[in-house]
Symmetry: C2
């Protein structure tokens, strides 16, 4: 199926809907995609393909009064694309499944898919397929991200002596959610961080092309929780320096105290920045170039040591175990 | 990550749950899977990969009083695997996302995933990843099926003069659902057809290896609806012979009349048999061998003609347009 083709499905209101929201999907290169939307499967070329699936549930990850339908779709897709960034993959495309109530389908479905398309196109991907079903419950979106990753960077490559770095500044998205839950209007910059997370795809590719990260993860559960995943996968301890964690200005300004702000930054989650581990000194020569290229700061937030778990501390100082602060679904 | 490894995730109840239900996932071959569950993405090898995603929603596709949790998972996975069969792909594995209420997670989540595992293993696949989130609504399962399809059979290859064939017998699953909706207990054989659909993976591979199907689809929406997809994708008309449609014995026995039985067989949906198109006579020499190999009948149910849409009729006789009878989600 080539780029310009229309979807050739049989008659029916469900298929009319699919036809309405999938035509924008068709801008993909034949180098990557052999068969796009409209058949039983999407067929993709590639030697090492990265695949990830992420659920977004109304009432858990968002409320409809907080986000426009397009932002709901954009956010769900960005979260999935962030997993591709986390392994250094080049996005090929998304498959997007939507369960939605009959009363909502007209007002939401097409716009949600518009948001999914926009997020995919922003990182050079396309919408390659999906599923649509009615549901008596909340809006549920499952986005499958597919990318090329010939040399994926896993969570398991950290070794004692390494340094832990992150992109960007943390805490704004969870700070916005906390304000929304209180019925307040979050500061604009915090709301944007929650509403339109930016999957760090080009940043991750830049780092991986230079062979810099030995282990990497995207910050979805919060820095301490995701550092715990890195530590567990690598069989090491990670020591984070609380003074080194870059906090988003909206959090510093809006939080009740430095401790309150650090709580959002360290364990709030949903930042979708990269957290990666490098050999000691391996990033030093590249920091300025990276920050110039992407207008995005890099910060060294900790070190890797022998052992297990995540600790607060500084090199040469004491160690305090970090309470499990990641967002818990159950 | 090799076969025997445990999942190395950080602490937390959610991750304890994931650890509990993913260990069985790890039996995959390194020829296909470079990175399995536990990292940000699954990494898969392969020249042409088929990917499909299928949503299953409680209250739409099943009710919890109808099916055990294991059957819910088994069914959701089989439906996704049936899409791989439809393009003649060899299954590599599944990614399975589950949105479920906090009160249900203990009783349902692990058993649902057991059912997903069982369905995957039955066709030589593995569970390669997924997502788990709480939900205030119905149980929602999204299963992503991944398979190898170097020479996929699409919906678009049918040409005038071809024959339309199907595997198995139709109508039992939708007949069971109709009984369940009336609060009746369906005949055992019909209930099994609904509860444990069999993705026709080896059957499709057998046919594709012999170069027999020119176009293929799996019967999820019902024969008339899925024939409409084939016809639309191929730019042809399909003429189905109502007398030739093989009806499941449970339907013939239980339905009020032949017309009633044909309604289930032609438009009931959820049969997950294969519907495929061959050059005239191309299957004749292979029918007995196929039926012996798989203990599964093949039936020629129609022909392909120039034109558009789906009709009832016989060669040389009149044509009646088929009312759109496919299950409509909206």
């Amino acid at each position: 199926m080539s780029g310009g083709d229309h979807l050739r499905l049989g008659p029916g209101r469900e298929f009319d809907l699919i036809r309405r929201f999938l035509p924008r999907a068709s801008r993909f290169g034949e180098d990557d995609v052999i068969v796009g939307p409209g058949d039983d499967c999407t067929i993709v070329r590639g030697e090492g393909l990265a695949i990830s699936t992420d659920l977004t549930v109304e009432g858990v990850h968002f409320r409809r009064e907080w986000l426009t339908p397009a932002a709901i779709g954009y956010r769900a897709a960005s979260v999935a694309l962030s997993d591709l960034a986390a392994v250094g993959a080049r996005p090929i495309g998304l498959l997007s499944s939507l369960a939605i109530g009959e009363a909502d389908v007209e007002a939401f479905a097409v716009e949600i898919m518009e948001g999914v398309h926009t997020a995919a196109e922003r990182v050079g991907g396309a919408v390659l397929g999906g599923d649509l079903t009615r549901s008596p419950g909340p809006i549920v979106i499952d986005v499958v991200a597919v990318g090329e990753a010939r040399t994926p960077v896993l969570r398991s490559g950290a070794a004692p002596g390494d340094e832990v770095w992150i992109t960007g500044a943390l805490g704004a998205a969870s700070f916005a959610v906390a304000r929304l839950l209180l019925g307040e209007r979050p500061p604009e910059a915090a709301m944007t961080a929650f509403e339109r997370p930016i999957p760090r795809v080009p940043e991750a590719r830049w780092l991986v092309e230079r062979g810099i990260p030995r282990a990497m993860i995207d910050l979805s559960d919060g820095l301490t929780g995701d550092a715990a995943h890195l530590a567990a996968a690598s069989g090491v301890a990670i020591v984070l320096d609380p003074e080194a964690i870059p906090l988003h200005p909206a959090v510093v300004e809006g939080a009740r105290s430095r401790v309150d702000a650090l709580r959002y930054g360290a364990s709030g989650g949903e930042d979708y920045e990269l957290c990666f581990v490098v050999r000691r000194g391996a990033l030093d020569d590249a920091v300025v170039e990276f920050e110039t290229e992407f207008a995005l700061p890099l910060h060294r937030v900790g070190v890797v040591e022998a052992g297990a778990g995540v600790f607060w501390g500084r090199e040469g100082g004491g160690r305090d175990p970090v309470a499990t602060g990641a967002f818990q679904h159950f």
